[in-house]
């Protein structure tokens, strides 16, 4: 069965489902008619560059078409089949050779085209490769669908950051990544764009020794509605995961972070923790964080979760003001610091500096 038929034959999701409680499928579907697969979805412009403009090192290439990866997590059939159907003309694989090294982070630039736009990017990271990758999404489309699938190589060390800088519009982002033996994977999300986001991000450690850090630096302002769902699967012994998700919420925005941590039977020695933190910048902003656990293995090192929400700390404000910073400077500095505590973990100094500069103007607006 092809993807379109698969989508049309699948039962529409119930809003009572954990995944669809906050942003129902109808709201994030490009036309709102869930029985429809639009045919006027265009492909974005995609390019691969280095963060400092230097030539791309050998061993990394973007090619057309996608392949099937091993060990992927359980996927939501509706969104996966829908995005596979609308990305027929925009399927790419980012192929990274085994033992690849780059002195500078690599940037995958995605510029949306037209009103409805989508792409499927498959990651194929070779064994023992070392990579810092930033995928940046920009543009003025009304709806963008981004499907990312793939796997890191055994023993690879990868930072994979997705930056949402869409001007307006809605973003549907589905991610399904497998992490094999002794691979260390950092999955970062930086979001300051799109008026509505529905993201379903799933990571699975399916062999021993896999390590995952999921990091989020989320800015919501105005009337944005941002909904990120993160599922982490520990399906093998001696696996490690941390989720640190920081959202700064201003205006009348609504931010939702839901986490699902699954530790399957036999994943002894698993070590996992999740923390969602929300900084509320206005009385009208809403932030909900719901971490959930499904633990089927008794012999775990740790398995915890927590959430914290609150306004800008008055004592921190006084401390900065006592150092001569005005209230708006102090507030901006505290918002930036809050987001930076996850942003700075996403990669090395070059990547960090680049991410901060990309977010600078959005941060100043939030501080006002």
């Amino acid at each position: 069965m092809d993807s379109a038929s698969q989508y049309l034959s699948t039962e529409m999701p119930d809003r009572a489902d954990h995944l669809w409680r906050y942003t129902p499928w109808k709201r994030i579907h490009p036309t709102g008619n869930t029985k429809e697969i639009p045919t006027d979805v265009t492909s974005p412009l995609i390019g691969l560059v280095t963060i400092d403009g230097s030539p791309l090192p050998p061993g990394i290439v973007l090619k057309e078409g996608v392949s099937k990866s091993d060990g992927l997590p359980v996927e939501e059939e509706i969104t996966k089949s829908f995005l596979e159907a609308v990305t027929e003309e925009a399927k790419y694989t980012l192929s990274v050779d085994p033992k690849f090294r780059s002195k500078v982070p690599i940037v995958l630039e995605i510029e949306t085209v037209g009103s409805l736009c989508s792409a499927h990017i498959c990651l194929e990271i070779g064994k023992l490769a070392e990579l810092e990758l930033v995928t940046v999404v920009r543009g003025d489309c009304e709806w963008f669908g981004l499907l990312r699938t793939g796997s890191t190589g055994e023993g690879a060390l990868a930072s994979d950051i997705v930056v949402n800088l869409l001007n307006e519009g809605r973003l549907l982002r589905i991610e399904s990544i497998s992490i094999p033996r002794n691979s260390q994977f950092k999955a970062g999300t930086v979001s300051s764009g799109s008026s509505m986001t529905k993201a379903d991000l799933r990571y699975r450690m399916f062999q021993p020794g896999g390590s995952l850090n999921v990091l989020g630096s989320i800015l919501s302002a105005g009337e944005m509605s941002l909904d990120h769902h993160i599922e982490i699967y520990h399906d093998s012994p001696e696996t490690f995961s941390r989720l640190d998700w920081n959202s700064a919420c201003g205006g009348k925005s609504k931010t939702v972070g839901t986490g699902m941590l699954r530790i399957s039977k036999g994943s002894n020695g698993a070590d996992a923790a999740q923390l969602f933190q929300n900084l509320l910048l206005s009385g009208n902003a809403q932030a909900d964080s719901i971490p959930e656990l499904e633990v089927s293995e008794h012999e775990v090192v740790g398995c915890g979760h927590g959430t914290a929400s609150g306004p800008v700390d008055e004592d921190q404000m006084f401390y900065l003001e006592s150092r001569g910073m005005s209230p708006s400077e102090s507030r901006s500095a505290l918002i930036a610091a809050f987001l930076n505590s996850t942003l700075s973990e996403m990669g090395g100094d070059l990547m960090h500096g680049w991410l901060v500069s990309e977010l600078d103007s959005d941060l100043s607006e939030l501080g006002d």
């Binding site: 700390d313 008055e314 004592d315 921190q316 006084f318 401390y319 900065l320 003001e321 006592s322 150092r323 001569g324 910073m325 005005s326 209230p327 400077e329 102090s330 500095a333 505290l334 930036a336 610091a337 809050f338 987001l339 930076n340 505590s341 942003l343 700075s344």
Partner: protein, 260 residues
């Protein structure tokens, strides 16, 4: 700033409360330029409130009295305006700010208080390097987050590093010596002396212990009990207090002995 004979800090009849509870019940204090004064007192006597009120903490309500910095009314100023006018508070419990790097924080602070030019170039870098060397702070400190995971001693040294870079006209140090070992106390005292001695600046040291005062040698020592300054004297008053205790001092005052 032109020189005059006005004290760097003049506090007159200061009464302060918080949420309806009176804490300071009439404080009079005058610190001439170039002098270091100390306030000693038991827990809850109003020492930290005095420090916070001078800096302009919004939680406290000034009910009566006057606060002047070199003749200028501080009460009309917000905390950041006071900082830019040259008031500095070394906090008893400095706030940690994860995500804000020490280097960036110092540059922003110096830029805010002393002007953008002062936070740039080799002059700033040299001053920073010299101050860090003097305080025995390693270079790696600059990439850490403000007070995040710092030991008690590191926090206090970091406050003094800020003091040395900001060069305030009035430094208020709230128990900067607590939790420090003797080397730390010597280092902190050196930092305070370097900012005040031989200048027109002033400092107010709030402390429980006379040890730091041995290294700073304050011009005046004030004892605070129940929200009032009940005794003042030269540095020997601190030794007298250390030898005899607060109960003895209270008895002396009850018997009509005047310390001034």
């Amino acid at each position: 700033m032109t020189s005059n004979n006005k004290p760097i800090l003049e506090v007159t009849g200061l009464k302060v409360g918080i949420e309806g509870t009176s804490i300071l019940k009439g404080i009079d204090l005058s610190i001439p330029k170039g002098e270091i004064h100390a306030i000693m007192g038991r827990n809850g006597s109003g020492k930290t409130t005095t420090a916070n009120v001078i800096m302009g903490h919004p939680a406290y309500e000034v009910e009566e009295g006057q606060l002047l910095l070199d003749g200028e009314n501080l009460q009309d100023m917000e905390p950041w305006e006071r900082a830019r006018e040259g008031v500095f508070l070394s906090f008893q419990y400095p706030q940690s700010i994860p995500g804000l790097q020490v280097g960036n924080f110092l540059r922003k602070s110096v830029s805010s208080v002393r002007g953008e030019e002062s936070s740039r170039g080799s002059d700033f870098r040299n001053k920073l390097r010299d101050a860090m060397e003097e305080l025995d702070i390693p270079k790696s400190f600059l990439s850490r987050y403000v007070n995040d995971g710092f030991s008690g001693g590191e926090k206090k040294r970091f406050e003094i590093l800020q003091l040395m870079l900001l060069q305030p006209r009035l430094a208020v140090l709230d128990e900067t010596d607590s939790g420090l070992d003797i080397d730390g106390i010597r280092t902190v005292a050196k930092g305070i002396n370097s900012v005040v001695r031989g200048t027109e600046n002033g400092a107010l040291i709030i402390t429980h212990y006379s040890r730091i005062l041995e290294h700073v040698n304050p011009d005046r020592v004030h004892i605070m009990i129940g929200g009032k300054i009940v005794a003042s004297g030269d540095s020997s008053l601190a030794n007298l207090l250390e030898d005899n205790g607060y109960d003895w001092l209270e008895e002396q005052i009850a018997e009509g002995v005047v310390f001034e």
